[in-house]
């Protein structure tokens, strides 16, 4: 019940940070691009994270990365490395930094920043091709970022 109303609230206020959440502009990166503190203050839900990673309108991580755990989602891309074993290669803080803004870890990477709302050239209104009229919302919400992190943490090398 509580989760449902939180999700609803996030939708209503257009993704602006909820009380107790770290807003996109307030994310603190360390020198290697990692983000130590949970964006929500809590843990994520790995099952939902898996859904987000495989869903086109959400994380769409599989557009660029193969993820064996999501083998029943069709068409995994090759633009980025396979995410198998990502939960072993990276700490939770590093994964959070990779998701919020991967350029802080990999300078100039093609991987989009999923929790960033400014500093773009010609930002559009989602995929309409029209100019963004309102402030941008991050591609994933704070809770969704934490959910994807929880999912990635389950990806261990076989």
């Amino acid at each position: 019940m509580k989760l449902t109303s939180l999700t609803l609230a996030a939708a209503l206020i257009g993704g602006a940070a909820l009380a107790g959440e770290v807003a996109p502009k307030d994310v603190q990166y360390d020198e290697s691009g990692a983000v130590a503190a949970s964006l929500t203050g809590g843990a994520g839900d790995a099952i939902n994270g898996a859904m987000l990673a495989g869903t086109k309108s959400k994380g769409n991580c599989v557009a660029c990365h193969a993820i064996t755990a999501l083998a029943d989602v069709p068409f995994h891309g090759e633009v980025g490395p396979s995410l198998d074993g990502a939960g072993e290669r990276w700490s939770e803080a590093e994964l959070r930094g990779l998701l919020t803004d991967a350029k802080m870890t990999f300078d100039g990477t093609v991987m989009p920043a999923f929790y960033k709302v400014d500093g773009f050239t010609r930002p559009g209104n989602a995929y309409t091709g029209k100019a963004a009229e309102e402030a941008l919302t991050p591609i994933l919400s704070a809770q969704e970022i934490e959910d994807v992190i929880a999912f990635l943490a389950t990806l261990k090398e076989e």
Binding site: A50, K56, A63, D72, P74, F75, V110, T121, G124, A132
Partner: protein, 286 residues
């Protein structure tokens, strides 16, 4: 909201076999149209690209076998239907001056040979770089006294295709120096500028990642030697500016308008990245 994933997470062992199987394109195939028209689909990159690419590749190489084969015979190529329609248009009198294209240019096969290969091109009188579409509309308005065609519309795409067919097999050879240079530089700047909330440039996908799958799409070099292209997806001819618009939109950016000075500059630059590839229009794409 979370329903199918429990199953997914336990399906780990079904693993990697499922991926990548769509990439059945034959990147070593040779394109010969109608049994005797040999197309150059891969060749040395033009000098201005030597820092970034060794070889340039036609988008045809990245399509699946079935799509590739549709382009090898004009009877199978659905784009040729629109070329035939445009042939009728070529001979149709329209506008206040009582003229058709043929009134001034006679037989399209003679007068338009080689034209596509050098467009977009500097027009001295107008003092601007002109795309084929701009030139077509200029003729319509100033020679025929007819209405402009919509930049990416069916009439325009068809006429561009008819004119392009007269250069099929000839190497793309657009000039990038002299008076066209500043427009070319502007296009180059655009090609490397990352746009939208995904913060991606043309180069991120078509220079750094061609040959890779991005979800279900096999990334090509984004060449325009095959434009206008017939797409199976929308069953019509598609102009390069419509394609550019789609690609910019997909970065979650505000696009430019087809026919805008920005897209004209981008077209000149992208065309020049294909200098040396054969004119293929109308190419067939998925």
């Amino acid at each position: 909201m979370t329903k199918p994933m429990g199953k997914t997470l336990t399906a780990i062992t079904l693993a990697a076999v499922a991926f990548g199987s769509v990439a059945s394109a034959d990147e070593t195939a040779e394109l010969v149209v109608n049994g005797d028209l040999n197309m150059v689909t891969r060749t040395a990159a033009p000098a201005h690209l030597s820092d970034v690419l060794d070889e340039i590749n036609s988008g045809w190489l990245y399509r699946k076998d079935e799509t590739q084969s549709l382009q090898t015979d004009d009877f199978d190529n659905p784009g040729m239907i629109f070329v035939d329609l445009a042939q009728d248009e070529w001979d149709t009198v329209e506008g206040t001056e009582d003229k058709s294209c043929a009134s001034c240019h006679d037989d399209v096969e003679d007068s338009m040979k080689g034209v596509r290969a050098v467009y977009p091109k500097w027009n001295e009188t107008a003092g601007e770089v002109r795309t084929l579409a701009m030139q077509i509309n200029d003729c319509r308005v100033n020679q025929m006294g007819a209405d402009k065609w919509k930049y990416t519309g069916g009439d325009m795409a068809g006429m561009e295709a008819l004119i392009s067919v007269q250069s099929r097999g000839m190497p793309v050879d657009v000039a990038i120096d002299g008076p066209a240079q500043s427009t070319w530089e502007e296009g180059k700047e655009m090609y490397y500028t990352r746009t939208g909330q995904l913060d991606l440039s043309c180069a991120n996908c078509h220079e750094e990642n061609y040959g890779n799958m991005i979800r279900a799409d096999h990334l090509s070099q984004g060449q325009i030697n095959g434009f206008p292209t017939y797409r199976l997806k929308n069953a019509k001819l598609n102009t390069s500016h419509a394609r550019f618009k789609g690609c910019v939109r997909d970065t979650r950016a505000e696009t430019y308008k087809p026919g805008s000075s920005e897209f004209v500059a981008l077209e000149l630059y992208v065309a020049s990245r294909g200098n040396g590839l054969s004119v293929e229009a109308p190419a067939v794409r998925n």
